[in-house]
């Protein structure tokens, strides 16, 4: 579904992403792990279109999207969430979701008809709120708890009806209880959407992912099933260390 071919990104003298070749198959949850500074988020930025690729190609459903603008990729079915929660904080939860629904349903160069009259937008926004388990939809996004905000973050991406969703550390900053709820949410999402999941919570990644890729210093050093990754010597040495040996 998504294939990266020799993707690179340099920042001055630092090679953040170094000739990464990676294949995400339709229907899978593909975990992407690696130590801090390995280049995972830079890679996500490149795939989503917020950073240009220096070299290499990005193919999405066999189409070359390397030069496509970020918003065009979203319309093509490639959405993302952010590691640092990125919402319309002063808008209500419902308005947040309705805006994302609006983005992909018809033109928004519309200057006369009030949005409030478009019931379809808000009906769908309510559906998504229910899917991500948000009960309070009329409060500003900023007033939600951290866990709820993270769920809304995923909800905004879902509202664009993606085929592939890039989740950048959805469990970031969560306690065990919130993490558990997020894992449940990701499990439900994966039934309809292919996922590329960047996550620091090893336990979560190994439970959720069908296949895992490991990135170290900008390079992809291994890809495989969770069990194979767990046993891979290079991975253990470079990254997992004692954490899994124990």
């Amino acid at each position: 579904m998504l294939s990266l071919k020799g993707l690179s990104k340099r920042f001055g003298g630092v090679v953040a992403v170094d000739r990464v070749t990676l294949e995400v198959r339709a229907g899978e949850v593909h975990g992407l792990i690696g130590p801090n500074g390995a280049g995972k988020t830079t890679l996500i930025h490149q795939v989503s279109g917020s950073l240009p690729a220096d070299t290499g190609e990005i193919l999405f459903e066999d189409r070359d999207i390397t030069r496509l603008a970020a918003h065009q990729r979203v319309r093509g079915g490639l959405a993302r969430s952010y590691q640092v929660t990125s919402l319309f904080r002063r808008f209500s939860v419902l308005d947040n979701l309705a805006l994302a629904v609006q983005a992909r349903s018809g033109s928004s160069f519309s200057f006369w008809r009030p949005v409030a009259a478009e019931r379809a937008l808000f009906d769908e926004a309510r559906d998504i709120a229910a899917r991500i388990n948000l009960k309070r939809v009329d409060v500003p996004a900023a007033s939600l708890s951290h866990g709820e905000q993270r769920a809304l973050e995923v909800g905004l991406a879902l509202a664009t009806r993606p085929k592939l969703l890039l989740l950048d550390e959805p469990m970031a900053g969560m306690g065990p209880e919130e993490s558990k709820r997020m894992i449940d949410l990701v499990r439900r999402v994966r039934e309809t959407v292919t996922l590329l999941l960047v996550e620091h919570d090893m336990d979560a990644v190994f439970r959720l992912a069908d296949r895992i890729s490991v990135m170290v210093n900008g390079r992809l050093i291994a890809t495989g099933a969770p069990e194979a990754i767990r046993r891979n010597d290079e991975v253990r040495k470079a990254y997992l260390g004692d954490e899994l040996a124990a």
Partner: protein, 311 residues
Amino acid sequence: MRILLVALVAAAFPWVMHALGQDFYTSFATRVLIYAMAAASLNLVLGYGGMVSFGHAAFFGAGAYIVAILAAEGITSLWIAWPVAVAGAALAALVIGAISLRTRGVYFIMITLAFAQMMYYVFISLKAYGGDDGLSLPGRSSTGLGVSLSNDFVWYYLVLALLALVLFLLHRLLHARFGRVIEAIRENETRATAIGYPVYRYQLLCFVISGAVAGLAGALIANQTSYAGPTLLHWVQSGTLMIMVILGGVGRFWGGPIGAAVLLVLEEVFSASPLLGPYALHWQLPVGLILLAVVLFAPQGLAGALAKRSQ
């Protein structure tokens, strides 16, 4: 309810002033209405779009100069001059916006300021059209309908009707899809892109619409004073419009009109009245202090404070 009251006062104003023998104030009120339109146009980009344009005088002045230059060339018809003024200002906004919107933050403020100052110097150097001295109009635009705009009553009602129309259209736009998108971009540009909006296009169109409305206000101010001068393009003019918006309420629907009215009335009271005697020369001081108080105690502007009180 409140809006009906405002409309009623606005409609009755010239008659009341006439009855009191104070026709001067009708002309003053017309000026307020024109600035209300200009400030409302700035509020669209600044308050709703989150684009801090410090060069809005460029479009205001362009509208005024286009009407004046056309008049100097013998074209005084409202039906030609005003649409050309609006289109000209929109075109200027398209060019300036297309370049400026590639930058953000302080750079955006500076580049819009630089463009407006550039236009200022261009018009100062246009000796054929008055240069430093500006350009006088032989009179107000002709309607071709047998109605003369030189009648201050007629003129007042025309300006009032146009302001009402502009505000109505802005209100529609802001509550339609387009308005929601530009507010969303103001709130979080990254996120707006990430849910699929081509941010640049929305911002540019918002900028152009705002420029066009400012151009109309400019055409009106040239008619109001029968004059278009370089001060209309000066950065101080941009600053004045910005102060009006801040005073009235950034991103508040009535922010522009309220700010324009309050600032111009304050100016009038402190600069011309016997209230301060010889100190009237320093009218900026009391006006400045009042501004300071508003910013400190009503950070959402007067419109914001009013909204809070009525809740």
